[in-house]
Structure formats: structure tokens, C-alpha cells
Symmetry: C2
Subunit: 313 residues, 2 copies
């Protein structure tokens, strides 16, 4: 198969290396500034999935430089770059090219499917963790569950998706197909909205957040507001009631990751741009569209934006 991995951060590096190692054609698309550093470099993946290495077919800053029909463009850029990325990708979508979204938060599927069509847009929920040790070298640190892939509205035949799922599994990336990918992604949105900005603002681990009754009140309110928003927008969640999700959240999700700090904590410390607009910020936008109030998500979003503002001034 022919892949272009758009974005060579930790996640993109993992996908590119493992697919190339398995013998597929893999092009890497990265920023103009780093393109020359990655050209002909042996890409490496280490960590819990063992040691892997491969040299990509080409690393470039634009799909323009690739004179082949790509089967899958794997989009791994941060959510705030999705709009720009899809505009760059669009002119090069032809034949059977599809885009696989491997990103966080709400809004990416909506933006990309509107731009290039639902029948070319595959959504995934990625829940393994990787960090970039250096350019071209990623470490896989933790995996909570398979990558889940699907077309949220059934616009791509199951067999096609299953072929991709098989290819990823053969490349040692545990993956499964699901018609419920959208719901499953929302599970992660709920999790990230409740934990990430609070962990970043209060500088503490998931376990510390969950062990303090007062923080639980805040997280409970964040989750409650998301359920209200989802209901108004007819977004189907995996859980009938807030209580069901909260039980899963506190009893199943948090304990194994209790010592982790959210990536937003590290990103805030290092002055990086944060993905708040596709998490709690997206909840605020969705709420405003329906005229409902989500004051807790709004307060948390504004506090994160204040931190970004102060860091950049």
C-alpha cells in the first residue's frame, strides 16, 4: 500500500516507521524547516513495541513532490492545524485516496469530511502514547487499547477499512474496525476534557486530581456539561447516563494512568500551543451554537487561554 504520513511528531513517526518496515511505500510530510533534517534519516521506534527502524521513501513538505496516487494519507497534525493541513491535502486527493484521521479532540472529522467528502474520510481513535525523543525517533510508552478505525456514517465499505486494519496489525500496530468509532472517540474527548486542562493548570497527576473531592466536583461538572451538549447536538455517546460514564472514568480509566501528567501539562510548561480548542473549547462552541450554558468548561478554557496568553507575552 502507498501511505503519506502528514505530520512527523511522535505519532506520525510511529506510523511511518512501522508501515515502512513492513514494506509499504511511505512518504513523510513535515514542516519546511525540518524537511532536510529528516531526508534519508533512518527512522526509529523504541519502547514497549520493541526496536524498529526504516528509511522512508521520501520526506518532503508538500504532497506536490509525490507523483503517485496515495492510498491513505494519515493525518497526525495537532487539531489547531487541521484546517490548514486539509487545504494542503485537498488538491492531491484523486483516484482512491482516503484520509485517515489520527488526532485528538472534536472537530477534525467535521472539518475534513466537509472538505474532501465523507467517502474519503476515515476516523480513528488512537489511545497509545508515544513521545518524540528526537526528530525521527519515537518511543511508544503506553497502550490503553487498540487503535479503532471506522467511517462514522458508514460511507466507506467495511471490507476496504478491514484491509487497512489488517495492514496496520501486520505492522504491529494493534488495530480493530468499529462502526462506533465516533462514540469511542467521544469517550476519549470526555476523558481528555475532564483531566487535561485541570492537570495542566493545577500541575498534578490524574491520580491526584481524582483523589481530591473538590477536583472531582469540577470534573463531574465538566462531564455533566458535555453530556448536555452531546444531547442537544444529537451526538451519541457510549453511555446512557453521566453516572455510567463517571463510574467507568473513575474506576476503570484513571487507576492505570494515575501517575501520569497530561500532555497538556508538558506542553504548557514548554510554551507549546495547546489543543484546548478541540477539547473544552469545542464544548463551549457547541454549547453556544445551541444557546446552552457550560460555565465550567468555559472557565477552564479561558484559564488555559490566559496561560497561553501570558506565556506568549
Amino acid at each position: 500500500m502507498k501511505f503519506a504520513v502528514f505530520g512527523l511528531g511522535a505519532l506520525g513517526t510511529v506510523f511511518a516507521t512501522l508501515l515502512k518496515e513492513k514494506g509499504h511505500t511511505v512518504y513523510g510530510i513535515t514542516k519546511r524547516e525540518t524537511q532536510h533534517l529528516l531526508q534519508n534519516l533512518p527512522f526509529k521506534v523504541s519502547g514497549i513495541w520493541g526496536e524498529h527502524r526504516a528509511v522512508l521513501d521520501k520526506v518532503t513538505s508538500s504532497l506536490m513532490d509525490i507523483n503517485e496516487d496515495i492510498d491513505y494519507i494519515i493525518l497526525t497534525v495537532k487539531s489547531y492545524d487541521t484546517k490548514t493541513a486539509v487545504r494542503q491535502i485537498k488538491p492531491y486527493i484523486k483516484g482512491n485516496t482516503k484520509v485517515l484521521l489520527a488526532q485528538n479532540g472534536y472537530g477534525n472529522y467535521e472539518i475534513v469530511s466537509q472538505e474532501i467528502g465523507k467517502d474519503r474520510t476515515l476516523l480513528s481513535r488512537v489511545i497509545f502514547g508515544a513521545k518524540l525523543l528526537e526528530l525521527g525517533h519515537a518511543e511508544v510508552t503506553v497502550i490503553a487499547d487498540d487503535v479503532v478505525i471506522g467511517q462514522p456514517e458508514g460511507k466507506i465499505p467495511k471490507e476496504d477499512i478491514q484491509t487497512l486494519v489488517d495492514v496496520l496489525n501486520q505492522a504491529h500496530i494493534p488495530t480493530r474496525y468499529s462502526t462506533d468509532v465516533y462514540k469511542i472517540l467521544w469517550d476519549k474527548i470526555l476523558y481528555n476534557c475532564a483531566l487535561n486542562p485541570l492537570g495542566a493548570l493545577l500541575e498534578c497527576t490524574y491520580g491526584q486530581l481524582a483523589s481530591c473531592e473538590k477536583t472531582r466536583e469540577v470534573m463531574d461538572n465538566i462531564i455533566q456539561e458535555i453530556f448536555w451538549v452531546a444531547k442537544e447536538h444529537n451526538i451519541k455517546l457510549n453511555w446512557e447516563t453521566v453516572e455510567d460514564y463517571k463510574r467507568y472514568f473513575y474506576e476503570t480509566l484513571i487507576p492505570p494512568t494515575s501517575k501520569h501528567y497530561p500532555s497538556m501539562y508538558y506542553d504548557l510548561k514548554s510554551g507549546k500551543k495547546l489543543e484546548i480548542d478541540s477539547l473544552n473549547g469545542a464544548i463551549v462552541r457547541l454549547a453556544h451554537e445551541k444557546g446552552i450554558k457550560v460555565p465550567v468548561n468555559e472557565t477552564i478554557t479561558n484559564m488555559i487561554k490566559t496561560k497561553e496568553f501570558i506565556n506568549s507575552n
Copy 2:
């Protein structure tokens, strides 16, 4: 006049030193642990009001050790210690003894006046800043306005209060009488609720908070919720509308203090207990009493309490 200054932090040290220097009888009441360190020590005040020093008549840990009728007990303890303090004070209130509250936040007047009677409880709004350089040595760093003193419900004759006001002025503490002391204290509560916990959580100055549009949204919501609570409780504020107060807040109050960090910022950093329960936490309690929602004050309060919890664990 005969004074007992209950609490020898920065503020208590200023009152005690300046009153003693002027020739009044002044007893200092402090914690048992520090009592012996302060006995016979020359108290000092430095800073914007010049250099002052005096040796108090006695420093002790209980009013039990003072065999004289006191005219005024000046209460300067932190709000979370008010209940304990008034129980210690109560048995020694006799003759004409009155208590002057020189504290921050909501709830102190309510607690003390209920315990010892409105006709013995004087409220003040103190808005000069002092810091304790070492035990018995305070520096006055800034003054925004006179100390304002009054009996919120007119239960003490104006002449009596005016006598105390004159004594304080003669002791170089700028002071005036006002029937509106309760409203004026609420001005400070509004100011502190909007700025202190956010400055502490986001680790920034008043000016930084006010310069970021997103933080203004949060502060605007905090202020709006306080107006709702005040209305429900029939608490008269100095301002007809939220807009009036906000104009005063952003245009008059913040600019001269724009480079300041709130004391809560320093207290949080040094692991001290915070006065959140008499600020935003009091707003939450007052709201719950009337069954109204103040989600922004509640979220901020819970975040501060999380920080305290993490610091103490």
C-alpha cells in the same frame, strides 16, 4: 485607651506598634509558640509611614493574663481563625469592651456579632498593605485608602466610633468613620474574589489578568455571580449595576496595582492556608443557602482547594 491586638501578623504588628508609640496601653495576643519570642521585644514598623518602634505592655497567648478592662480588642487573625478567636475572646468581654474587626472577606462580622452582640462589634475595611519582615517587625508597603470603621447596623453611637477614629488618626493610621462600612467591605470582597484566586492559580499579576480578554470573561462572571448572590441576600452593594462596578474595577482599582501579585499567590507558593472560604467559598455557601448556582466561583474555589490539598499531601 486600652487595646488588645489579637493576632500579631503584619497588620496586628502595625496597629500595636503605632498605638503603643502614641502612649496607649497595648497588649498583644499571639500564638503560644511565639509568645516568648515577642515578650519585651521592641516592635518596629517601617515603610511608607516612616520608622516607628515601641515595647508593648505585655505579649501573651490569652486574654486571661490581662487583669484590666480593655476598650478595644482589635481582631486581625485570618478569617478561618475567627470562630476560634471569638470563643477565646468572649469570656473576657465586660464593661465597655468592644471588638474591632480588621480582617478580609465575608463572614467575620456575622460570626463575631452573633457571638458577642452587634453593640460590641465594630467592622473595618483595611486597605493598606503590610508585610511581616520578621516577628515584631512589619513594613507598610502601600495604602489605597483610609481605614474605614463603622457599625454596619448603627448599634454603636457615632461619637464612640469617632473617638476611636481620632485615636487611630493620631497614631498615624489614616482612618475615617462611615455608616457604609459594610458596603465598602463588599467592594474589597468583590475585588479580592475576582483577582486573588485567579492570580494564585495562573501565577500572574493583576495587570496580566486584566490585560487578557479571556481572563476578563472569567472575572466578569465571578463579579456577576456575586451581584446575584448579594441581591438574593439583600446585601447592599456600593454599585447599582454590574457594569458600574466593572468600570470602577478595571479603570480605577486595577491600574495602580497592576504590577502586584495577590497575597494568595504568595501564600499558595509558601504552602500557607488560604482565605478562600471567606472569599469565593463564601459566595458559594451564600448561593447554596438560596438555591442559586454560581458555577464559576465554585470552580475557582474547588481549584484553590485542590491546590491546598495537593500541597498538604
